[in-house]
C-alpha cells in the first residue's frame, strides 16, 4: 500500500507538483476550510442568522470574546442587529459560494458552447458570436449585472422578485463572465480542429456536433478549467460588490458582501470587527482560489512549467 502511494506520488504529474508547492498547499487548505465551513454551516454555526428569532438586538455591537467587553457566546463579536458574526460569516460564505459556483457554471456552459461552435464552424457564425462577445467585453461586468438586475426588478412582480433574487443574480453575473470562456474555447478549438485526429473523424463522416463534443471538447478542457477557477473568484467578488451596492441578496440573508457593507457604516465609530472579519474571510478565500487557479494553469500548460 505504501509503495503504491509512493509510485502514484512520483508518477502523477499533478500530485507531484502539488506536493512540491507550499503556496498551493496552503491555498488548498484555506479553500477547503472555506468550502467545508460553508457547506456544513448549519451544523457548525452556534446560531442561525437567517432566523430573526435567534438573535437579540440587545446583543448588538458586542466586540470579540477576547476583548474586555467581549461575551463568550460570540467568539468574534456581533453586528448591528445582534447577530453572531461567526455564524453570519459561515452562512454568508455559503451564499457567496453558491452564487459564485452557479454563475460560473452558467457562464462556462454558455461561453464554452458558443466558443466551441465558433471555433469549429468559423465563418459568419464565428464573426457574429465574437462581435457580440466584443460588445459584452466593452461593458464593465458590474454594469451588465446591474442592467440584468434592474430589468428583472422591472419585469418581475415584487413578491416573486424576492424568491428569484438568487437566480437573477446568477444570470447577471454569468452573463458578464461568459466571454472569457468563449474566447479561450474558440482559440483552443482553432488549434485542435486542424489536428489530424479531427480530420480523421471528418473523413469518416461523423456529425459535426459529435466531433465538437466527443473529439474536441475533452482536449480543450484544461485551459477552460483554469478560467473557471479564476472566474470563480471574480464571481464571488462581483456578488460581494452587488450586495455591497444593495442590489444583491436579500437583506435578511446576508452574504459576505452584505456583511462588509453593513460593517463599513460602523468602521469610524470603533466597531472594527464587523467589517474586518468578513473582509478577511473574503480576501483569504479569493486569494487561495486564485492561487489554486494559477497553480492549475502552470501545471496544465507545459510551456509555463
Amino acid at each position: 500500500m505504501l509503495s503504491y502511494w509512493r509510485r502514484i506520488r512520483i508518477e502523477n504529474e499533478l500530485l507531484y507538483l502539488f506536493l512540491h508547492n507550499r503556496v498551493a498547499q496552503v491555498a488548498a487548505v484555506i479553500a477547503t476550510v472555506a468550502i467545508f465551513g460553508a457547506f456544513f454551516a448549519p451544523l457548525i454555526a452556534s446560531t442561525n442568522p437567517h432566523d430573526l428569532a435567534s438573535f437579540d438586538i440587545l446583543d448588538s455591537f458586542l466586540p470579540p470574546a477576547w476583548t474586555e467587553d467581549g461575551d463568550t457566546r460570540f467568539l468574534i463579536g456581533t453586528d448591528d442587529q445582534g447577530r453572531d458574526l461567526l455564524s453570519a460569516i459561515l452562512y454568508g460564505t455559503r451564499l457567496s459560494l453558491l452564487v459564485g459556483l452557479s454563475s460560473v457554471a452558467f457562464a462556462a456552459v454558455l461561453g464554452t458552447s458558443l466558443g466551441l461552435a465558433a471555433g469549429y464552424l468559423g465563418g459568419r457564425f464565428d464573426a457574429v458570436v465574437m462581435r457580440i462577445a466584443d460588445v459584452q467585453l466593452s461593458l464593465p461586468a458590474i454594469l451588465t449585472a446591474l442592467l440584468v438586475d434592474g430589468v428583472a426588478r422591472g419585469i418581475l412582480p415584487r413578491e416573486q422578485h424576492e424568491d428569484l433574487l438568487l437566480i437573477v443574480l446568477t444570470i447577471a453575473i454569468g452573463l458578464s463572465l461568459w466571454v472569457n470562456f468563449a474566447r479561450v474555447a474558440r482559440a483552443s478549438t482553432f488549434v485542435e480542429r486542424n489536428k489530424e485526429y479531427v480530420q480523421a473523424a471528418e473523413i469518416m463522416g461523423q456529425h459535426p456536433v459529435r466531433i465538437m463534443l466527443v473529439a474536441i471538447l475533452p482536449n480543450i478542457l484544461g485551459p477552460l478549467m483554469v478560467i473557471g477557477t479564476i472566474d470563480l473568484a471574480v464571481a464571488i467578488l462581483l456578488e460581494a460588490t452587488l450586495s455591497f451596492l444593495g442590489v444583491g441578496v436579500p437583506a435578511d440573508q446576508p452574504s459576505l458582501g452584505t456583511l462588509i457593507r453593513i460593517g463599513t457604516e460602523y468602521i469610524f465609530s470603533g466597531e472594527w470587527w464587523i467589517v474586518i472579519f468578513p473582509s478577511m474571510t473574503l480576501i483569504l478565500m479569493i486569494i487561495s482560489v486564485n492561487i489554486l487557479g494559477d497553480f492549475f494553469r502552470t501545471v496544465l500548460n507545459p510551456r509555463l512549467r
Binding site: K195, E196, Y197, I203, M204, G205, Q206, H207, P218
Partner: protein, 577 residues
C-alpha cells in the same frame, strides 16, 4: 588523439524525479582540423546532448558527471562561466536545425552579423560590415551586398541556412557543431548546404561535428562517424569503413533498415528489437477469442472488391485553388493554385507512390480525395463511379468507409483524451460493423495483434506509447473500417529509421494480405522506391512524370526527376570514399 578536439569518458547525467538518468556514458571522441565527424543515432541516443556538452550549454538540471573535453589540448571543464561564454562563438560555433527560428526575425541580417563580429573583435562598424559581406559571399549568397539589409523572412529556407552558417563563421571558429543542419530542408537544398559544409572544412580547416539521424547525409560528407545508441558509443571509425563493413550488430541492423534507392526489397530484414517490450504479464492479457487470425478473417469477410480491370481511383484534370480572404467585400479574390491539371490512376491492389518536395501539393491531393478540400475543377472517380467533391460528399457516402487515411504525425492523429479501445472502435461503431459490444471489443483486440501490438494496449491512452507504436495504432484504426483504398500521407517521416522499417513492413504485409490499393505519399524517394508499383512526381502542383516504379528508378524521363534522384543522399555513395 585528435589535435583539435578530444572528448574522453564524457558522462552526462540528468537527475529526474524517477531517479538519475544517464544521457551519455563514457563517450570518447576526437577531431582533427578540417575533419567532419558525424554523430548518428536514433532519437534519444544522446546526439544533441554531446553537442551541448562540448559547447558547455547542458540544460539544467543536467550536469557532466565525469570525463573531459579538451580543445587544442586545453581542458574546457575547468573554465569559468565567463571564460566559457567568451569561448563560445570565438572558438566553437553552432548551426541549428531550423533556420526559421535560429535567426531573430526582427533584426536585419546585417544587424545580426555585424553585432556578432563586433562582439568578438574590435572591428569598426564599416570593417565588420565588409567582413559580413565577404562571409555571405563565401557561403554562396548571391547579391550579398544588396541583400544585407533584408530581414530573415525575405530569404528562402536554404538561403537562410546559408546566413546561419555565415553567422557561425563570423568569428573564425575552429570547431562548428551542426545539429541536424539539413533536416528541415528539401533534398536539392540539402545537397547544396552539405557541399558548402564540405568546402568550408577543406578551405578553412574548420572541424565539424555533424549531428544527424540520416545515414544518407553521413555517407555523403563525413570523414569519420560515431554510431550512438542510448547514450553509449556503439561503433566508431572512418565513415567508409563503419558504413561499408559494420562490425557491430546495431550498426548492421541500422544499415539494413535504411530504405535503398537502388533496388526494391521484398521486406526489410534484420529489424532491431522494438523498444523494451511491455512487461510479460501485459502480453498475457487477452480478450477471449481475439487473435491475429480472427482479425485477418474478419477483415477479409467484408465485401471484397471484385478486381475489375479499371482503376480503383481515377483522378481527372484536378485543380485546387486556395482563396485568401478578400481584402474588401468588393475586392477581387486572390487565389493560389495548389494543384493544376492532375490526372492519376491507382490500379486495384497496387501502390501508387506520390513524390514531391514541400509545397508540391502532395497533401492537398490526399485531402481532395478524402473530401477535406474542395477541388475547383476536375473529377475523382472511385470504383468507376464519380465521387461527390468536398462538402458535397454526403456523410453516409460509401466511400467514407472504403477510403481510409493514415496521417503523417502520430502525435496529433490520435485523440489524447480517449483510450486506444475507444479510438479504434470508433469506425466499427460508426459504420456499424459489429453486432455487439463484445464483438467490437474482440475485433479491436484482434486488430491490435495484427499490427503487432499487445492486446492490453487497448486499455491505455495514446501518450503512453512511442511514435512507432502510435503509428501502428493509427494503421489499426484505418484497417477496422475494412477499407479498399488506403491513403498514407508521409506515414513514416516522423519516425526513426528502424521504426520506419517496421511500419513499412507492416504496410506491405497488410497490402499483400488484404489486396489494398494504396496512395503512398512521401518526400523520401528511397521509401517510395520500397513501397510503390507506380510512381507520380509532383512539383509546384503540377504532375511532372508518371510511370511504373521500376522504369522510373531505372531511367527517369523528366529532368526534374533525374535531378531529384541524383540529389537524394544514398548509401551507394560510400563506395566513392
Amino acid at each position: 588523439m585528435g589535435s583539435l578536439l578530444n572528448v574522453t569518458g564524457l558522462t552526462v547525467r540528468y537527475p529526474t524525479r524517477f531517479g538519475t538518468f544517464t544521457a551519455i556514458e563514457g563517450l570518447d571522441l576526437s577531431l582533427e582540423p578540417g575533419e567532419i565527424h558525424g554523430l548518428v543515432g536514433e532519437s534519444g541516443a544522446g546526439k544533441s546532448t554531446i553537442g551541448a556538452a562540448i559547447i558547455g550549454l547542458i540544460q539544467s538540471p543536467g550536469y557532466i558527471a565525469a570525463g573531459d573535453v579538451k580543445l587544442h589540448g586545453e581542458s574546457l571543464r575547468s573554465l569559468s562561466d565567463a571564460a566559457y561564454h567568451k569561448l563560445r562563438g570565438a572558438k566553437i560555433s553552432m548551426i541549428f536545425q531550423d533556420p526559421q527560428t535560429s535567426l531573430n526575425p526582427l533584426l536585419t541580417i546585417e544587424d545580426q552579423l555585424v553585432e556578432t563580429i563586433r562582439q568578438h573583435s574590435d572591428a569598426s562598424y564599416g570593417d565588420a560590415r565588409e567582413r559580413a559581406i565577404e562571409l555571405l559571399k563565401e557561403t554562396g549568397l548571391q547579391d550579398a551586398e544588396a541583400r544585407l539589409g533584408e530581414y530573415p523572412h525575405q530569404f528562402s529556407g536554404g538561403m537562410r541556412q546559408r546566413v546561419v552558417i555565415a553567422l557561425a563563421l563570423c568569428t573564425n571558429p575552429d570547431l562548428i557543431i551542426a545539429d541536424e543542419p539539413t533536416t528541415a530542408l528539401d533534398v536539392a537544398i540539402q545537397k547544396q548546404i552539405l557541399a558548402l559544409i564540405r568546402q568550408l572544412a577543406q578551405d578553412r580547416g574548420v572541424g565539424f561535428i555533424l549531428i544527424t539521424h540520416d545515414i544518407g547525409v553521413i555517407a555523403e560528407i563525413t570523414d569519420s562517424v560515431s554510431v550512438l545508441r542510448n547514450g553509449k558509443l556503439v561503433e566508431e571509425g572512418k565513415t567508409a569503413q563503419v558504413l561499408g563493413e559494420p562490425r557491430h550488430d546495431y550498426t548492421k541492423a541500422l544499415m539494413a533498415a535504411v530504405p535503398r534507392l537502388d533496388e526494391k526489397l521484398d521486406r526489410f530484414v534484420n529489424i532491431l528489437a522494438d523498444e523494451p517490450a511491455l512487461a510479460t504479464p501485459e502480453l498475457q492479457w487477452n480478450v477471449v477469442g481475439a487473435s491475429e487470425q480472427f482479425a485477418s478473417d474478419w477483415l477479409l469477410k467484408g465485401e471484397r472488391p471484385t478486381l475489375a480491370d479499371g482503376p480503383v481511383l481515377s483522378v481527372r484534370d484536378l485543380d485546387v485553388t486556395f482563396y485568401a480572404d478578400r481584402p474588401f467585400a468588393w475586392g477581387k479574390k486572390q487565389g493560389t493554385r495548389a494543384l493544376r491539371d492532375i490526372s492519376l490512376d491507382v490500379l486495384p491492389g497496387q501502390v501508387l507512390g506520390v513524390i514531391g518536395e514541400s509545397g508540391s501539393g502532395k497533401s492537398t491531393l490526399a485531402k481532395a480525395v478524402v473530401g477535406l478540400v474542395r477541388p475547383t475543377a476536375g473529377s475523382i472517380d472511385f470504383n468507376g463511379a464519380p465521387l461527390p467533391l468536398g462538402r458535397d460528399r454526403p456523410r453516409n457516402h460509401a466511400a467514407r468507409r472504403k477510403i481510409q487515411m493514415v496521417f503523417q504525425d502520430p502525435y496529433s492523429s490520435l485523440n489524447n483524451r480517449r483510450t486506444i479501445e475507444e479510438i479504434i472502435s470508433e469506425p466499427i461503431r460508426f459504420f456499424k460493423l459489429a453486432k455487439s459490444r463484445a464483438e467490437q471489443r474482440r475485433i479491436v483486440a484482434s486488430v491490435l495483434s495484427l499490427v503487432e501490438m499487445p492486446q492490453r494496449a487497448m486499455l491505455k491512452y495514446p501518450h503512453q506509447f512511442s511514435g512507432g507504436q502510435r503509428q501502428r495504432i493509427a494503421v489499426a484504426r484505418a484497417l477496422v473500417a475494412r477499407p479498399e483504398f488506403l491513403i498514407c500521407d508521409e506515414p513514416t517521416s516522423a519516425l526513426d529509421v528502424s521504426i520506419q522499417a517496421q511500419i513499412l513492413n507492416l504496410l506491405k504485409e497488410l497490402q499483400a494480405r488484404f489486396g489494398l490499393s494504396i496512395l503512398f505519399i512521401s518526400h523520401d524517394l528511397a521509401v517510395v522506391r520500397q513501397m510503390s508499383d507506380q510512381v507520380a512526381v509532383l512539383k509546384n502542383g503540377q504532375l511532372i512524370e508518371t510511370g511504373s516504379a521500376e522504369d522510373f528508378f531505372a531511367s527517369p524521363k523528366a529532368d526534374y526527376s533525374r535531378q531529384l534522384l541524383q540529389e537524394t543522399p544514398s548509401l551507394a555513395l560510400i563506395a566513392r570514399h
